[in-house]
Symmetry: C3
């Protein structure tokens, strides 16, 4: 159901600090995870389940470098070992909580859900976080009650921009006509395309004289499971119909998006958008961000209704369309990784 | 579980127009159905599931004679064929949405949930709708979280009028004593009986001097699945103890009721009540209607608690009583139709 | 899953009278139960399920010594026999509702959920109710969404007092160090221990000068399923380190607690606490009671999170600690009783 040997985004770095008692509970790929920061600033991730009697460690208490379960007071070091059984000398060897490898990068927290021995930091996707030099990046998040496969399909598919996001980040028939360049990666897909001489998207069309046209360039790196990072640039419409636009670069943006399955029926969605400082103008990054919040609610209502229907008829015969090429490649990568892990023993 | 080759009521004709974007989503007998009207005024019913990726067509958009899925913009004609894949020439032959036969009659919309070839309009039950000449008919609807078998039993059973509807549409022990005439139909049951020299029902008893008595005549046509249409007449109490009342006709009414299962655990209930224009007096039809809304909530709380218990103990041994003769006949008809369809392949 | 041949607490005696229409609906050990009082003051318990069509008898009406089902008006005597089928002469022999033996004692209502022939009043646990002479007892109740095994473990375990109830009824590390005396009973366990020279518990520590110490004595009788009755006494700290305290008795209290499973995922919890009239001071019993309400919410949030995790991973390998000795004994008793009943036919 889920690829285990993979980095999953557990959210924005500030969420760990802002959580109640600075202890953050998540569900990731079907597992309960608790995240907390030690005084040295490092983030640690435990299974959110005390090895004694399955109490929630996320209801515990940080004490120095350790986390105390507040049911019976067992205290765990960052390597998962129990270092205190209150008022008792003997600590059973088996009193160990499962520890997940954690990396903080680009203001995101990444958790490796599989075999810690295989945790490979080079697999962490590139992203542009709010701390990136030269960029003004706005961050947000939401939850969607849908399986993550539907999110992967949605993100890999360009055809829906025309319709779902008619009034926000899409709206032109030109999106449905895109024939992108694909570059398959071991764990994902790079998708590149131009949309030329197109009107501004719905959200900002009213800001320009009628008929003002733009050249748009998209370069998207989509990885399993599930990160979607796009370099998106807006030019004045030029004359070129192939290769680079000969218009003027107006806005240079990055958006970084991570979809983390909680379990089979819901995902957490962490995302950012922002412009280069050179091309930013006051209010622009905020407006992009607010537009994205609305656009992703547009997707969410579609995906949640689709998820219900997909649960009702898992074997419904479906019809393939040209828009499904990107999604098909991504699902092929996902299913290959799932197959590779199947048969291997679980931790 | 559900008879497929049957007409199910999808609600009042005005609901299609009043729905958001004039597109109405229903669940009928376990299927998702979307209803919309084309410019010629006709109502059409599709499976509420795009053949591409199961998106909800009820979140779509009406465009002329067609319905557009607002996920990827596929557009469907009223025969279910896809007539547009945006920005693409080729339309896959298999891109067809399932179409359900629809008939509008008596202000109700009827949908045939089985094989369209077998859709037989002569099976649509007789009813008296709000447009019927000579009648003032009031309409309403509600939902009940109970299996439709419990609704069929409830409607076929006269014994509960005495107790459940003590303060609304029943209240006399005479209801529990009824020995009706039954006439079995291929898909239902006609039930006829007199209740003589009875006080007014609970809701209106206070309007008459104490001891004022009436003769009541009931003629009910109950069909599978599940319509209940009653011609109900109130006379001053006469001397006759057999055959027609020799009292004076005071009020002549029709009530038409349709119970449509959403799925195994809920129904939608559409109903009307009203008097002949000749016997109506200002406020009477409104009062009957409001009484019915209250009476059906009285049933609903009983049925929802019964449904919970029936789910907990499906094999609970039950005891039969004289009141169960009507319900037993109706369930016999239902189960015969279900058996007849079993073994036949589903569409 | 549940021991059937056992007395389950159905709540406080006053709840039957205060319920809507003085008819109380409960779920006990997976069964629906309805409780009502006849004019002679006796409480009766029926299965909350009419033998006719499973309607809820708890939606019925008390009439003298009988309970009428308000669906079709069947009326049942306290022995479960149907004594009226409205407007009909014949009463089917099988029209009998299941009757559960009931005993009122110590202001609690006890219901025997198994074979009535085996109902043995001597198995009803000792308790100190609000009517006990010489005691001022305060009563309360709550519901918890957790399996009753987790409640049994929680109540048999002394180690959690230190942490879960840090600010209410625990808080000292001395609780985690307790090595109690156990006395195994056929259906439970007596647990006795002293906690000596300990500060007042969290809730009342601020009332005493810093460093004021007490000797506490606990004697708990815990029975399956699931009653927990404690004689708890507070002395000024004395010099004795074994046997009785040589301090002065300050407060002498009893708390009686009953946990009744509704079904596999929830319990009702009825409890009381109070002091002897000799050692009571104005406001003390109220304060103890309010403290207990807060303390049991502290348990409830832990248990509900634990229950979710236990449902997710029923086979999670757990680690045993010294605190688990009491819980292990209680689960051993419970599982022995369950095994003894397994194989015997259900009623």
């Amino acid at each position: 159901m889920f690829v285990k040997n993979a980095w999953y985004c557990a959210g924005w770095d500030y969420s760990v600090t802002l959580a109640r008692d600075a202890i953050l509970a998540r569900q990731i790929a079907g597992e309960r995870v608790v995240l907390f920061r030690t005084p040295d600033g490092k983030v640690h991730a435990f299974e959110d389940r005390c090895p004694h009697r399955q109490a929630a460690l996320s209801m515990g208490r940080k004490e120095g470098d350790t986390l105390r379960c507040m049911y019976h007071g067992l205290r765990f070091a960052t390597d998962g070992r129990c270092v205190e059984v209150p008022a008792r000398d003997r600590i059973p060897e088996r009193a160990r909580v499962r520890v997940f490898p954690v990396v903080e990068r680009d203001s995101w927290i990444w958790v490796w859900m599989g075999d810690p021995e295989q945790a490979d930091e080079s697999l962490i996707p590139f992203a542009v976080g709010p701390g990136a030099e030269g960029w003004n990046i706005w961050t947000s998040e939401m939850s969607v009650n849908a399986n993550y496969r539907l999110e992967i399909i949605n993100l890999a598919d360009l055809g829906h921009l025309t319709w779902v996001h008619e009034n926000t980040v899409g709206g032109s028939l030109k999106y449905a006509a895109i024939e992108p360049d694909f570059e398959l990666l071991p764990r994902g897909l790079i998708t590149r395309y131009w949309v030329r001489s197109v009107e501004a998207t719905g959200a900002v069309r009213h800001l320009f004289p009628a008929g003002t046209l733009f050249d748009l360039h998209f370069e998207i790196t989509h990885t399993i499971p599930c990160t979607w990072v796009m370099h998106f640039r807006i030019f004045t419409a030029g004359a070129a119909t192939e290769g680079d636009s000969d218009g003027t670069l107006l806005v240079d943006t990055w958006t970084s998006q991570a979809v983390t399955p909680r379990h089979a029926d819901a995902v957490d969605y962490y995302y950012s958008w922002g412009t280069s400082k050179e091309t930013d103008i006051p209010g622009l990054s905020d407006m992009l961000g607010q537009t994205l919040d609305i656009a992703f609610r547009e997707d969410a209502v579609i995906l949640e209704a689709q998820h219900e229907r997909w649960r009702e008829k898992p074997d419904f015969p479906m019809v393939d369309l040209p828009f499904d090429e990107g999604p098909a490649k991504m699902l092929w990568v996902l299913d290959r990784l799932l197959r590779e892990e199947a048969g291997k023993p679980d931790r």
